[in-house]
C-alpha cells in the first residue's frame, strides 16, 4: 500500500472518530444544560417561542418550590428511605448468596440460573398482582412505602450478588482455613474474616442498589399511587404541567447518581480502557 493512501484513509477515520466524539459529547451536555436552564429560569422563559437558548433571568424560585411543597418534600424523604432500606436488605442478602456461590459449585450454578431467570419477569406481571397482595397485608401505598422497599430489595438482590461474587471468590481459602483451625464457627468466619475483607465491594453493592431503587419508576408508579416516591412524582409533574419545579426536581434527582459517577469515575474509566492499545 502506498504511504499516501494509508495516511489519507487514516485521516478519514480520524475525522469520523472526531465527529462521533463531538456527537457523543453534545448528546451528553446539551440536554443537561437545557434542563439546568429550565430549572434556573422563570417558567415564562421556558414557554417562549422560538425557545431561549440562553437564560435571561436567573432565579432559585423553582428549587424553593420543590422544598416548600409538602408533597415534594415527602417524596424526597420517601425515596431516600426506600433506597436505604432496600439497599441494606439487598446488600445483606446479596452477600449471603454471593458467599455461597463463591464457595460451592452447586450454589454457583443454581445462583446464576436463578439470578438470570429473575431478569425475565416483566415488571407488570409482578407489579399488578403484587399490588393486590401487598394490599391484602396492609402494605400497599403506605406513607412509609415499606411495600415498595420490599419489592426494590428483591429486584436489587441480583445486582448485589453479582457485584459481591467476584470479591468473595477472591478471598483466599487459606485465610478461612486458618480461622477454622483456631476453632471459629462457620458464621464467625463469615462475619469476622470474609465480610471485613470485602467491605469495599459491600459499599459498592450498597451504592448500586440504592441508585437502582432511587431511579426505579415502574414498581413505584404502580405500588405507590398516592404516597409517591420521586420518579412517579416527576412523571406527573412532567406530563401535567409545572415545568419549573419539574426541571428543578429532575436536576435534584440526578445528584446521587452523578456523585457516584464522579466518585467511581477513575476506576470506571480504568476498567474501561486498560489494555486497549491498538
Amino acid at each position: 500500500m502506498k504511504p499516501g493512501a494509508r495516511a489519507g484513509r487514516g485521516g478519514g477515520f480520524a475525522m469520523l472518530g472526531a465527529a462521533l466524539g463531538a456527537i457523543v459529547i453534545a448528546a451528553a451536555v446539551i440536554p443537561l444544560y437545557l434542563l439546568a436552564k429550565q430549572a434556573l429560569t422563570p417558567e415564562l422563559e421556558t414557554f417562549a417561542w422560538p425557545p431561549f437558548w440562553l437564560p435571561r433571568k436567573i432565579t432559585l424560585a423553582n428549587f424553593a418550590q420543590v422544598f416548600t411543597v409538602r408533597e415534594l418534600r415527602g417524596a424526597i424523604a420517601r425515596s431516600l428511605g426506600v433506597g436505604v432500606v432496600s439497599a441494606v436488605g439487598a446488600t445483606a442478602m446479596g452477600a449471603m448468596l454471593a458467599y455461597a456461590m463463591a464457595r460451592a459449585g452447586a450454589a454457583r450454578r443454581a445462583g446464576f440460573a436463578a439470578l438470570s431467570g429473575v431478569r425475565l419477569l416483566p415488571m407488570l406481571a409482578v407489579a399488578i398482582p403484587a399490588a393486590a397482595m401487598l394490599g391484602a397485608i396492609g402494605l400497599a401505598d403506605t406513607p412509609d412505602a415499606l411495600g415498595l422497599a420490599i419489592i426494590h430489595c428483591a429486584i436489587a438482590i441480583p445486582t448485589a450478588a453479582l457485584t459481591l461474587y467476584a470479591a468473595f471468590a477472591a478471598v483466599p481459602a487459606e485465610v478461612e482455613e486458618a480461622a477454622w483451625l483456631d476453632g471459629a464457627s462457620a458464621v464467625r468466619v463469615f462475619l469476622t474474616i470474609d465480610l471485613p475483607i470485602v467491605r469495599g465491594a459491600l459499599a459498592a453493592a450498597f451504592i448500586l442498589c440504592f441508585i437502582l431503587s432511587w431511579d426505579e419508576f415502574g414498581f413505584a408508579l404502580l405500588l405507590q399511587q398516592t404516597n409517591r416516591t420521586l420518579p412517579p412524582l416527576l412523571y406527573y409533574y412532567t406530563v401535567f404541567g409545572n415545568v419549573g419545579p419539574a426541571s428543578a426536581l429532575a436536576l435534584l434527582m440526578m445528584v446521587p447518581a452523578l456523585c457516584v459517577v464522579i466518585a467511581l469515575g477513575p476506576t470506571l474509566r480504568g476498567a474501561l480502557i486498560t489494555g486497549g492499545s491498538r
Binding site: 462521533l20 451528553a28 416483566p122 393486590a132 428483591a154 477454622w180 462457620a186
Partner: protein
C-alpha cells in the same frame, strides 16, 4: 467443620431465594392464575385480548420497537466502543460523556426528552432556526413517534452496550492485528476479518441482554406518548389495569409479554450455545 460450612451455605442460598420467590415469583404465578380466571377457570381474558385491535397493535409494536432499538443501539454502541478504544491518547472528557446518559435516572432522561421533543420544544426550535419546518415528534400513532421512542431509548442505554463491547474489544490480542497488517490488510479488512469475528460473542451477549429489556419497554413509551398513542404490551396492560379497570385482561397481556421474553431469551441462549459449539468443532 465441613458440615457446618455446608449448612451455612445452604441457609445463605435458601434465605435470599425464598425471599425472592415470595416477593417476585409468587405474585407472578398468582397473576398467571388470574389471567385464566373469570369467576372460574376460563380463557375469556385471552379471548378479550384477541378481540381487541389495540392489543394486536401493541403486540406488533412490541416486535418493531425492540428490533429497531437493538439495531440502533448495537450500531451506535459499536461505533462508540471503536472510537474510544482506537484513540492514541485517552480522553477523560469523551469517556465521561459517553457513560453519562446511563448515569442519569431514566425518568429524568424522559423528562428532558419530552421538553426537547414537544411541539414548541428545543428540537423544533433548532430546526426553525435553520429554516426547517417543525415536526410532530410525539404525535399519536405516527411512525415519527416510534422513531422518537427508539432514539430516546438508545440515548439512555447505548452506554451499556458500549461498555460490553469495549470489554469484548479488550480481549482481542494485539498480535492478531499485527498479523493482519503484515498480511497487507487495511483498517477495513482488519475490522471485517479480525474485530467482527472476535467480537461476535460480546455482540451476541449484548443483543440478548438488551433485547430482553427492549421487549419489556414501558416507561419510555408511557412518558413520551402516553399508554395508548404507541401501544406496547406493557403500556397496554397498564392501561387495562388503570383506565379499563380490567386487571385480569391486564394480566393476560402481561403473560403474553412474559412468554415473548422467555422465548427470546431461551432462543438466544440456545443459538449462542449451538453457534459457539460449531466454532469449537471447526477450530
Amino acid at each position: 467443620m465441613n458440615w457446618q460450612a455446608r449448612r451455612l451455605r445452604a441457609v445463605f442460598v435458601a434465605a435470599p431465594a425464598l425471599f425472592m420467590v415470595a416477593t417476585l415469583v409468587v405474585p407472578a404465578l398468582g397473576g398467571l392464575a388470574d389471567s385464566f380466571d373469570r369467576g372460574g377457570p376460563s380463557l375469556e381474558n385471552y379471548a378479550a385480548l384477541a378481540r381487541d385491535p389495540m392489543f394486536w397493535r401493541a403486540a406488533l409494536d412490541n416486535l418493531l420497537l425492540p428490533i429497531a432499538s437493538l439495531a440502533l443501539e448495537l450500531a451506535a454502541g459499536l461505533a462508540m466502543a471503536l472510537t474510544i478504544t482506537a484513540r492514541a491518547r485517552r480522553s477523560p472528557v469523551l469517556e465521561a460523556a459517553a457513560i453519562l446518559p446511563f448515569a442519569i435516572p431514566e425518568i429524568v432522561i424522559l423528562t428532558i426528552a419530552r421538553y426537547l421533543l414537544m411541539p414548541r420544544g428545543y428540537v423544533n426550535g433548532a430546526l426553525a432556526a435553520v429554516g426547517i419546518a417543525p415536526a410532530a415528534w410525539l404525535a399519536p400513532r405516527g411512525s415519527l413517534a416510534m422513531l422518537s421512542i427508539v432514539v430516546v431509548d438508545a440515548w439512555h442505554v447505548t452506554p451499556i452496550v458500549m461498555l460490553m463491547l469495549v470489554a469484548g474489544l479488550q480481549t482481542i490480542p494485539a498480535e492478531l492485528y499485527e498479523a493482519a497488517r503484515l498480511d497487507g490488510a487495511g483498517p477495513l479488512a482488519a475490522f471485517r476479518y479480525v474485530t467482527l469475528p472476535m467480537l461476535a460473542p460480546a455482540i451476541a451477549g449484548a443483543a440478548i441482554l438488551r433485547g430482553i429489556d427492549a421487549l419489556r419497554i414501558f416507561s419510555t413509551v408511557l412518558v413520551l406518548t402516553g399508554p395508548e398513542a404507541v401501544p406496547v404490551l406493557s403500556t397496554y396492560a397498564y392501561g387495562q389495569w388503570t383506565d379499563a379497570q380490567a386487571p385480569r385482561v391486564a394480566m393476560a397481556a402481561a403473560m403474553v409479554l412474559a412468554l415473548m421474553v422467555t422465548v427470546f431469551a431461551l432462543g438466544g441462549a440456545l443459538a449462542v450455545r449451538r453457534w459457539s459449539s460449531d466454532l469449537g468443532a471447526r477450530a
